[in-house]
């Protein structure tokens, strides 16, 4: 299987990449790690006429300490996020979620910016970003820079609030140093995507909880968070995982089973994060 023919561009700077997006609009697609885009192009579910390869823009591969947050370059590969000491110290939930992505070969190529821009409800990173209360910095040639909070990023099935001319430049993660957290991923085979997954991060006064593959978009388990804030115990709050969500049914799981998984995994995640 090979993709439909396309015009290939390899800009040498972010500005050049943004100019290409401005020029070609929604005919163009950025190529970062290519581990979501290329499979879709091979299956001909995506057929951009211009592919803008930003994979070599190594200035956008970094993890920096910027005070009360971590700043992670959009092109930082999963493997580099997974093993970075700053991530381990200040956002271990992100390291764990990243370590569960695909397999080592996938993690050598895929990037954090690509995973978030792809906005896949089945993806592990979006749930971690939601639970950590992170944000992304996006830039376009005409519009300059803006910051999108995780809660405003995921708008529909594989859809984000990014404009076609915008590129994610940086991901910002508030530090959660020394606070309880847990990541749960349930799948049948080692390298698979989650049938259901849970990111739980303790914060002052409760926890932020986000679910994988329980809705057309990555989603926060708001009912669980509110119950915890009102003093419910983990087991009681976890019963509300899935409330207000519309999980899909597929070969791996029907709606009832997915909802059951969400409850059990949320309870496990909360308890492992140190919430009784």
């Amino acid at each position: 299987m090979i993709p439909v023919a396309f015009d290939y561009q390899r800009p040498t700077s972010v500005d050049e990449a943004l100019a290409l997006l401005e020029e070609h609009g929604d005919e163009a697609k950025l190529l970062a790690g290519g581990h979501s885009l290329l499979p879709m192009m091979k299956l001909r579910l995506a057929y951009p006429s211009v592919v803008v390869d930003v994979g070599r823009l190594s200035d956008l591969s970094y993890v920096d300490d910027s005070g009360d947050q971590l700043a992670i370059g959009a092109l930082t590969r999963h493997r580099d996020v997974e093993i970075h000491p700053l991530v381990a110290e200040h956002a271990p939930l992100l390291a764990a979620a990243t370590g569960h992505v695909g397999d080592p070969q996938v993690r050598h190529r895929g990037t954090l910016g690509g995973a978030l821009a792809h906005a896949d409800a089945a993806g592990d990173h979006p749930s971690a970003l939601l639970a950590l209360g992170g944000s992304v910095v996006v830039r376009s040639a005409q519009g300059g820079e803006r910051v999108i909070e995780a809660d405003d990023l995921f708008t529909g099935f594989l859809e984000s609030s990014l404009e076609p001319t915008e590129m994610i430049i940086e991901i910002r993660i508030p530090k959660h140093t020394g606070q309880g957290w847990n990541f749960q991923k349930f799948n049948r085979r080692a390298q698979d995507w989650a049938i259901v997954g849970v990111s739980a991060q303790r914060v002052d006064g409760g926890a932020r909880v986000a679910l994988v593959n329980m809705h057309p978009t990555p989603i926060r388990a708001v009912a669980v968070e509110e119950a915890l804030a009102d003093g419910a115990d983990a087991a009681t709050a976890a019963e509300l995982a899935g409330d207000g969500m519309e999980p899909s049914a597929d070969l791996n799981a029907g709606v009832d089973y997915r909802t059951h998984l969400a409850r059990v995994l949320t309870r496990r995640a909360l308890q492992a994060a140190g919430i009784d």
């Binding site: 290939y8 390869d53 996938v106 190529r109």
Partner: protein, 158 residues
Amino acid sequence: MEITVDVNGTSHTHDVEPRTLLVHFIRDIAGLTGTNIGCDTSSCGACTVHLDGEAVKSCTVLAVQADGQRVTTIEGLAATRADGADGMHPMQEAFMNCHALQCGYCTPGMVMASVSLLDEIPNPTEAQVREGLEGNLCRCTGYHNIVKAVLAVAGGER
């Protein structure tokens, strides 16, 4: 588009369509057919090669993405022996000695993934080997002997 890829120390310059997959470049243009295509959907790992020293699935990389980079395939692995001596790479020897292959279809990818694994975790536990090879499927061996082979190279069984 004209690209130059160093494959196993030999520079290959060719005019390719941007949609050419790296695995097709390796097999059809460089003529190195040791790298197999199993699934073509980034699931099986049969096409695993090293791109700038790291294991990647070459069915999910465009040849143009490897322009100017270094690729090592199973044919070039022996030449990367740390001691520079002739003969197979220790991982290849261990696969042979531990009977870590039957039909052999997964083997080139499995060996390349195993070498990359030990580059990152020189002294893995058995569990780390099993997890580290999760991207590579073998339909014959049941994996046990593959895991033994990797552990043998890592410094003996434990």
